[in-house]
Symmetry: C2
Subunit: 329 residues, 2 copies
């Protein structure tokens, strides 16, 4: 069987994760990594794959079955998504929730015209969490959704800390509140304020001579980011930050707490959770499974932009339908 030929566009944390994920999937082969940096400065693990400048991307048309776009949602993907869909099947993890319909429309227009297939907003949220919410809501139409994130690093909140005067460096963990999670798990359908659902814990490296009390107060009262939460601020050294906070763990919980029967007599609780040592690596593994699906969908005539809701689960696997049915149903 010939392998699925893959390109990685962007070699940050997720791009590196995709390279490692491809290494776990023998039916897939990394052909090239595309970067905006000088290609010769990039060290990749794979000994046979090429490192190319982004400008060389189009020259791989016909040599690569699917491009996995590993850029950011703020500025990279809105441009790269439609551009690359003109020539290749693509997968991305576009995660700016509010702009997903607009992004979908832009990619869909190009991909439909070019006969390519692009699965957008792949990962775990958006992605797996969305799938569970969608499926659970269809199964239990009478019920409530709950999502908790963490414990994990929020890049947005970490960036917000770092912009505070007197802060040299810092990281923020979003922590789900145990009491709230347990209450949902017990079917109590609680009404939860923002403050009841998550706690925010910050580890801050201050500049020499900075006013720590003022930093702490500025963080805790910051609108949108912290003021609606209970926030803990810890001051640590740069060395402690490097030593204890270099990993990027994350995770979370999705619940559907519903009722069935006439008179809604029975409580039914669906729970899905992730506990991830590495958020970017897990996201990368999801991207790779969907890259397999995109290639197959394209071969079978399912063209244009797609979301995770449109992909039959069997397309994620290298196994045949009969193997899946025999081994896993």
């Amino acid at each position: 069987m010939s392998t699925i030929k893959v390109g990685i566009v962007g070699y940050g944390n997720i791009g590196r994760g995709v390279e490692a994920a491809l290494n776990q999937n023998p039916d897939m082969e990394l052909v090239a990594v595309f970067t905006r940096r000088a290609p010769e400065t990039l060290q990749i693990h794979n000994a046979t794959a090429k490192v190319e400048h982004m400008d060389a991307l189009e020259s791989y048309k016909g040599k690569i079955d699917v491009m996995i776009l590993c850029g950011g949602s703020a500025t990279d993907l809105p441009v790269q998504g439609p551009e690359i869909a003109r020539h290749f099947n693509t997968i991305d993890s576009f995660d700016t929730h509010a702009r997903i319909p607009e992004y979908f429309t832009n990619v869909n227009e190009v991909a439909t015209e070019a006969n390519t297939t692009s699965v957008i907003s792949v990962g775990w949220d958006p992605g797996l969490f969305s799938m569970i919410r969608m499926m659970s809501g269809a199964i239990l139409p009478v019920g409530e959704d709950y999502t908790f994130w963490g414990k994990g690093v929020s890049q947005g909140h970490s960036d917000a800390i770092r912009r505070v005067k007197g802060v040299k460096n810092g990281i923020q963990y979003t922590i789900p509140m145990n009491e709230a999670v347990e209450s949902v798990r017990n079917g109590e359908n609680p009404e939860l304020a923002t403050r009841d659902k998550h706690l925010r814990e910050c580890f801050v490296v201050a500049e020499d001579g900075a006013d720590l009390a003022e930093i702490e107060n500025t963080i805790k009262t910051m609108p949108n980011y912290f003021s609606d939460y209970n926030t803990i601020v810890n001051f640590i050294s740069e060395e402690e930050l490097r030593r204890d906070h270099a990993k990027m763990p994350h995770g979370g919980f999705v619940f559907r707490s519903g009722a069935t029967g006439f008179e809604e007599e029975s409580k039914q609780i669906i729970e899905f959770s992730l506990k991830l040592d590495s958020n970017p690596q897990f996201t990368a593994n999801v991207l790779v499974a969907y890259a397999r699906a995109a290639v197959r969908m394209n071969k079978e005539g399912m063209k244009g932009a797609k979301s995770v809701f449109d992909v039959p689960l069997s397309y994620l696997s290298p196994k045949t339908s009969m193997e899946l049915m025999t081994e896993l149903l």
Copy 2:
């Protein structure tokens, strides 16, 4: 918008659950319940739907979009599945794992020829649990699967108890072992013997004058059913059985405990769990969501037998793709 017209074949616990589930889904309409009993003896909730004898089923061709088969896997479905697929789209919860490929083949042959769509083995295991195992394995190819069932009533084990000499009535609960679940949740990838994963608890009503010690011993040493497990046997009165054990709760946990990255440096844990007050009602709600999907798949030309792996998740929902993307992605 016109509603999806539904027939229920068989009016036991699951059939009644399907009727209640349809009541929660305004885009669907119950047209008729088909039974082997004398129709006039059957009392259903729905005031406008008909109750018909099974023999009248074919006369509803063109008037019903999908039949939800609520019979048992041992004798009903192997016959009804292929028979009814000749005239209608169907959904069933065929759950004899070992015979699924054979059943699929039989239904597929008929449905393909008849241009109908049949989604087989729908429910939660097989069904949702299978989907999570399949999807999680594709995302984390390096890892271990764990499934725990319960706490819930096992019909097979309850039947086995009732066949023991001196036993008048009884029920058996399968209980997952907390220590094992916690060990898996903590990423310890334990090797678990049968006895380490589940405990079996029996509530037994003995005949007057029966030898209780002998009953207990017969149950605990019963091969296949109990001898590989730690089993608790409680003797109770018929009244206690009726009062405390009339519900049919169930549930369970599916885990994928995997590793990602070069050197598999990061642990990644996916967990899915169900806590169900009523096993048949929940199964019924899943069947109804897949009934919606079957009708749409059939309209779009996806004919023949299908498993849950073949169905795009969006087809389970009455919402449009754009609504799903805006509200749930």
